[in-house]
Structure formats: structure tokens, C-alpha cells
Amino acid sequence: MNISNHFILFIFVATLMTTGCAAQSQYAWSNYDQKLYNHYKNPTKSEQFIEDLRKIIQYGEISGRVPPGIYAEYGYALYEQGNYPEAIEYFKKEQSKWPESDIIMTKMINNAQKIIGANKEIEHSAID
């Protein structure tokens, strides 16, 4: 083994060590800050923001490191789109993972359920 081989091995080990450390962060943020920034820069692209949040959750769930607030942020984005049943599902996920969110999530779930109920009444009266 000559010097250059040693050097390559050294680089390989060093890279392994540093990436190993970097992967041990407590939450899988997946650039949430950058995605929120993009959302504020292009507010009309709300579909993109929803998709970004969905991916953060998808990736975070693999390692069980979904950061605080992300289920609720996603749930609220769905709520704003009028997708109330799915919004409730994610508000409940936030609530069960982070007990600190219980009060506001209970309110959000109730609001979403009220809207679903009201929409059903409108549908019924339209049929009548």
C-alpha cells in the first residue's frame, strides 16, 4: 500500500466519521426553514409548501424524528385548503406526539369538525 492509498483510506474514514456525527441530530428538519422561506417568497405556490411539509413528515417518520410543530403545520396547510378530515388526522398526530400542543390542537380539531358538520347541513338542505 503506497502513500496515496493511505491518503484515500484516511479521507474515507474521516468522511464516515463526520457524516456519522451529522446524522445524529435530534430532529429530521429536512430544511424546514428553507421551505418556509420559499413559501413566504412565493406565497401563491401553497401546493409546493404542502408537498414540502408532507415530505418532511414522510422522511422524519422513517427514523421517528418528526420535529415539533410539523404535523400541526401540515394539518393547518390542509385546513386552509379545505381538506378538513385529513387536517384533523394530522392535528391528532401532533397532539399525541407533543402533549404541549393539546390545548391548541383540541381547538383546531373542534373548528374543523364544526366546519365539516356545517358543510353536511348545507348539503342536506340543498337536497331537501
Partner: protein, 211 residues
């Protein structure tokens, strides 16, 4: 004799400056918040995009200190729906009411003092200056505060050719002027404020390792 005292006082004040001030965490530790509500930021700069852009940078460094941080975009939108779209109104509202609305233990108020790019002849200096204030949601007392200022000035290495250096400097300044890089500075300011010795907030309940 008077001169002797003067020397003593001068010495004492100089030595006093050298020792790093230890922060008083008594109030913070008494409040022991688990969750922190970040409300929209008051903007004292002329950049209208500053509050939203800055808001995007603050969740990660605070949550990484071990606190439950309420989703900032949801909070902002809910406050807007309640007629609180003006950050000044939110900052002046009773802390306890805000905290109760969300069930938060504490509220973090951020004011953007500076978010600007100063144009000089051959360089552009970008400054982000933020002040932070955390209040206890139960008592409304201030439990932690800090100011952080970050300045960025593009540096260019000398090539040995003075005219070439000037051209590079002018080009760098023009790039910075066209798109000042505020967001990385804001990220650094937040990280320093929450995690650097001498000002950092104590670790929250979710912190696994205090680095």
C-alpha cells in the same frame, strides 16, 4: 490619596469588564417553560419582507434547545384571523391571554432592529440586528432577553494586482447589493442567541445532549 483611589477604581472597572458577565437564570428556571410560542416579529427596518423571512429562521435553533415550539406559520395565520395581523398589536397584547390562547408556557417576542445593506464605494455591508425577549405565560414577567447583531462584509483576497482586486471588489459589492444575504445572518444570530455561552437559554425538556 485621591489619586490612589482613582487608580483602584479604574483597575476595578477594567477587571470588571474582563470577566464574562454571568446571566441570572433565576426567573427562567423558576418559570421552567416546556413550550414556547413565537409570535410574529416587530419590524423596525424598512425591508417589508424582513419579518416573514426572519420568522422562517427561528424555529429550528429554538426547538433544538429542547423546547416544544408552536408551528410559526399556523400561529401567524391564526392571529391574523383573530384580527392580530399587526405584530405591534400582538407584542402589546397581554402575555397571559396570548399564552392561554395556545396553551403556551412562555412567549418569545423578536424585534428586528436592523435588516439592511449599506452601500459603500467598493463594498456592501449587510447587517441583521435582532432583540429577543421571552416572557412567562403565567405571570407575564420577562425571563430572558438578549440582543444579537451580525454583520457581513464580502472580503476578497489580494491577487497581487491592484486593479484586478478593485474589479473583483466592485463585482462582489454589486452582487451583495443586488441580493443581500440576510437569511444566513438571521440564522446565525438566532443560533448564537439561543446556544452561545453568556446568553444561551437553559436546555429544555426535550434536549438529549447539551453540546
Amino acid at each position: 490619596m485621591a489619586r490612589f483611589f482613582l487608580i483602584i477604581i479604574t483597575l476595578a472597572s477594567v477587571l470588571g469588564c474582563v470577566t464574562t458577565p454571568t446571566r441570572d437564570y433565576t426567573k427562567f428556571n423558576a418559570a421552567k417553560p416546556k413550550s414556547i410560542l413565537i409570535v410574529p416579529m416587530v419590524n423596525r427596518s424598512v425591508e417589508i419582507t424582513a419579518p416573514d423571512y426572519c420568522l422562517s429562521t427561528i424555529t429550528i435553533p429554538l426547538a433544538n434547545r429542547g423546547y416544544y415550539v408552536f408551528p410559526v406559520n399556523m400561529v401567524k395565520r391564526l392571529l391574523e384571523d383573530d384580527g392580530l395581523s399587526d405584530a405591534n398589536l400582538v407584542h402589546n397584547a397581554p402575555v397571559e391571554k396570548l399564552a392561554n390562547l395556545f396553551g403556551a408556557d412562555a412567549v418569545l417576542y423578536v424585534t428586528i432592529n436592523q435588516w439592511d445593506a449599506k452601500y459603500m464605494v467598493l463594498t456592501t455591508q449587510v447587517t441583521v440586528s435582532l432583540s429577543y425577549l421571552i416572557k412567562d405565560g403565567k405571570t407575564g414577567d420577562s425571563i430572558w432577553e438578549h440582543n444579537e447583531t451580525m454583520i457581513y462584509q464580502p472580503k476578497s483576497q489580494s491577487s497581487g494586482n491592484a486593479i484586478a482586486d478593485l474589479i473583483i471588489m466592485a463585482a462582489n459589492a454589486a452582487v451583495t447589493r443586488a441580493a443581500p444575504n440576510y437569511v444566513p445572518l438571521a440564522r446565525q444570530a438566532n443560533f448564537r442567541a439561543f446556544s452561545f455561552p453568556g446568553r444561551k437559554i437553559p436546555p429544555g425538556p426535550y434536549l438529549l445532549v447539551d453540546k
